[in-house]
């Protein structure tokens, strides 16, 4: 399959790309369907094609001077969230009928369901600030089902700040996406990453869309490879002490770093099992060369799994925790390998080039990684993000811009990938897993090694 892909690059890529999109839809959504079948929205005319979604600007409900600016923040965030979801075809606001429906009795279903908007679903509502509190009422209507149009009705009350207006929009968007797409979107998730904007490489965090960026660690030397625990309470990373690289642990519950065992040699690239009980990492503690180890989440009882000389970047299959993908230079240039979680049954899954930074999709079926596919003198530097269907070894290319794209990490819904790219300085970007909706999330300092939370 791979050889064929190389031979017929662009032609084969397109076909393969289409196949992967189908594969993503099938593997991404079907396993979830039985568990959440009752929650799925059934109705309308939707039959697999993206739902045509309109998000009307919310109606200001009070005359408070804060209402207008917060409403603007809310409307922008809600529209972007729904657009980012990857399951809707957004109707451009220029097609919307005149007038702002603030309440169910305001909305004229025909005006939305007929062309030009030709919408299937409309999100609308009202927002008002009173006494420093923001109150939002939001509805989702199936405008092609006049007999019973209401799909969702939600109410939110928070402090009147832009952050809260954004948060409410994320929550409402996530409700809509959960109802229509079967699983929650990533709107309430966090992305952890390395930034040097303070002059030192530290761990930072941000919202899924790049909002709310804030510093997490204050190591003052070099922090690398942040990995958030499955429950979101702890962050493992590798930090440079005065004499070695050590695994470090930050507790969000305590708001500070907590003790973690020191090991000899260099200790790098932690990875959590999805049940939060184990940590895999790379260490030179045994032989002086970097190899993959498995320990309890407390760091106790590290056990060596590999005997390669340059093994690094382990990642668990989050569906089973029975397999670990990792990178090794044991045959020369680094390649991606998969092994059982006890170190047995090692298999190389990339067959050429320079392949690093595997990230396992939430459903356990796909590996994203960074690959200089055709590596050789004179063609250095072009690393792109690729996605491999592990069972078939089928591979599709996600980024195409040239430059160095590295450290892909899947969103909790498996529909997005965040990665670092040097296409405009070293910055963090996100993209839908079908290659669309590419957007830059960071702009200050140099930012790298994004890691998406699992919720």
């Amino acid at each position: 399959m791979l050889k064929q892909a190389n031979a017929k690059k662009s032609e084969g890529m397109k076909t393969r790309f289409a196949l992967l999109v189908v594969a993503l839809l099938v593997v991404g959504l079907l396993p979830v369907a039985p568990a959440n079948a009752q929650d799925w929205y059934k109705g309308g005319t939707n039959s697999g094609a993206p739902i045509r979604m309109a998000a009307a600007d919310f109606k200001p409900a009070t005359g408070d001077p804060q209402t207008q600016p917060l409403n603007t923040v809310f409307n922008t965030t809600l529209f972007n969230d729904l657009d980012n979801a990857g399951i809707f075809e957004m109707v451009a606001k220029s097609f919307y009928p005149a007038g702002t429906p603030g309440y169910p009795q305001d909305i004229k279903l025909d005006a939305w369901s007929n062309p030009p908007p030709n919408a299937a679903m409309v999100a609308f509502g009202n927002l008002g600030v009173t006494g420093g509190k923001i109150s939002v009422q939001g509805w989702l209507f199936d405008v092609k089902n006049p007999a019973s149009p209401q799909v969702l009705g939600q109410q939110y009350n928070e402090d009147a700040t832009p952050e809260m207006a954004r948060l409410i929009a994320h929550r409402f968007a996530n409700e809509i996406i959960t109802r229509l797409g079967g699983i929650p979107g990533p709107m309430l998730s966090k992305i952890y990453f390395i930034s040097d904007r303070t002059g030192h490489k530290e761990v930072w965090q941000m919202d899924y869309d790049g909002g709310g960026q804030q510093q997490v660690t204050k190591l003052g030397s070099i922090a690398l490879s942040p990995r958030i625990s499955p429950d979101g309470s702890r962050l493992a990373f590798s930090g440079l002490t005065k004499d070695s690289w050590q695994m470090m642990m930050y507790s969000f519950d305590l708001g500070r770093a907590v003790a973690f065992p020191r090991f000899p040699g260099g200790n790098y690239s932690p990875a959590w099992s999805s049940d939060g009980t184990k940590i895999a990492f790379a260490s030179s503690m045994g032989t002086g060369a970097s190899e993959i180890y498995l320990a309890d989440a407390s760091g106790a009882g590290p056990k060596r799994l590999t005997t390669g000389k340059t093994d690094i970047s382990p990642v668990f299959n989050p569906k089973t925790n029975a397999q670990i993908a990792f990178v090794s230079g044991r045959t020369g240039l680094p390649q991606v390998y998969v092994m059982d979680a006890d170190g047995s049954n090692v298999q190389r899954v990339t067959d050429q080039g320079y392949a690093v930074s595997p990230s396992w999709s939430p459903n356990g079926l796909l590996l994203a990684f960074s690959w200089v596919r055709k590596y050789g003198p004179g063609v250095l530097g072009g690393a792109d993000i690729y996605v491999m269907d592990i069972a078939s070894r089928q591979i599709v290319q996600l980024t195409h811009d040239g430059g160095r794209n590295d450290f892909p990490s899947w969103s909790p819904d498996g529909r997005h990938i965040v990665f670092q790219s040097n296409r405009s300085g070293e910055q963090i970007w996100s993209v839908l897993a079908d290659g669309t909706h590419l957007q830059q999330l960071t702009r200050t300092g140099r930012n790298s090694q994004p890691n998406w939370s699992t919720h």
């Binding site: 490489k201 004499d243 260099g266 690093v356």
Partner: protein, 245 residues
């Protein structure tokens, strides 16, 4: 047959007669043309720094009147010149056989900005152990994505080993680094292996393993930040640091 033979004889006879007649012809007598005038001019060296001089050398034949830029000169000769700017010299030779010109150019370049003459300063004898260490223990360099010790690095490491063996009790940190092109995490593993390669070499050469500590800086502490091969090569190294003595 007979006819053909006779025909050939006739042809040969005619040919012989023609040759005889030609040889007997006398050349027409005309006055000899005046011998042609020749002139050459060269400058040596062709390029000087301002303040230096060059030698112009010329020669002519069959010329009655020879001048250089309007000044009469000998038919053959040489002259030292020291123009302040680039100058083209013209030699003009005239005789009964005509006239001939020759040119030569002396290119003048600006002298280098004067630098104070380096005062010969012998390397002072090392004062501290760190200075002694730095003078005797050198970094080694690696090929791209490689961690094996190159031939040039083997020679360096052998010298490093001799020095370290002469200083038992000194503790050394070997710091492995990579160029910017590889991936952050993989470069840490590669730098680890580069440091370990040097350590293994030194241990085989007789240095105590206890005296050697390794650390990888991956691509986190580059010594050079340009994106070219010179710089990448500088960053693909093992650096040796004296950590206790």
């Amino acid at each position: 047959m007979n006819y053909l033979k006779r025909y050939w004889l006739l042809v040969l006879g005619l040919l012989a007669l023609t040759l005889l007649v030609s040889c007997g012809k006398k050349p027409v007598k005309t006055p000899p043309p005046p011998p042609p005038v020749t002139a050459t001019l060269s400058a040596n060296p062709g390029s000087i720094q301002r303040g230096q001089s060059a030698t112009l050398t010329w020669s002519t034949t069959n010329a009655d009147d020879v001048n250089m830029d309007g000044n009469k000169v000998d038919p053959n000769g040489s002259q030292s010149v020291s123009p302040s700017d680039t100058t083209t010299y013209h030699l003009h030779a005239k005789g009964g056989g005509g006239a001939q010109d020759a040119t030569a150019t002396v290119t003048v370049t600006a002298p280098p900005t004067p630098t104070p003459a380096p005062t010969p300063r012998p390397t002072p004898p090392p004062v501290t152990d760190e200075q002694l260490f730095a003078q005797n223990v050198s970094d080694i360099y690696f090929d791209y994505d490689k961690s094996d010790v190159r031939a040039d690095a083997q020679a360096t490491l052998s010298r490093n080993a001799e020095f370290l063996k002469a200083h038992p009790g000194w503790k050394v940190q070997i710091e492995g680094s990579c160029d910017e092109r590889g991936s952050t995490e993989y470069n840490l593993a590669l730098g680890e292996r580069r440091a370990d390669s040097a350590k293994q070499f030194l241990v085989r050469a007789g240095v105590s393993a206890d005296a050697l500590k390794t650390i990888s800086y991956g691509k986190e502490k580059p010594v050079c930040s340009a994106s070219n091969e010179d710089c990448w090569q500088q960053n693909r190294h093992d650096h040796f640091v004296l950590i206790s003595h």
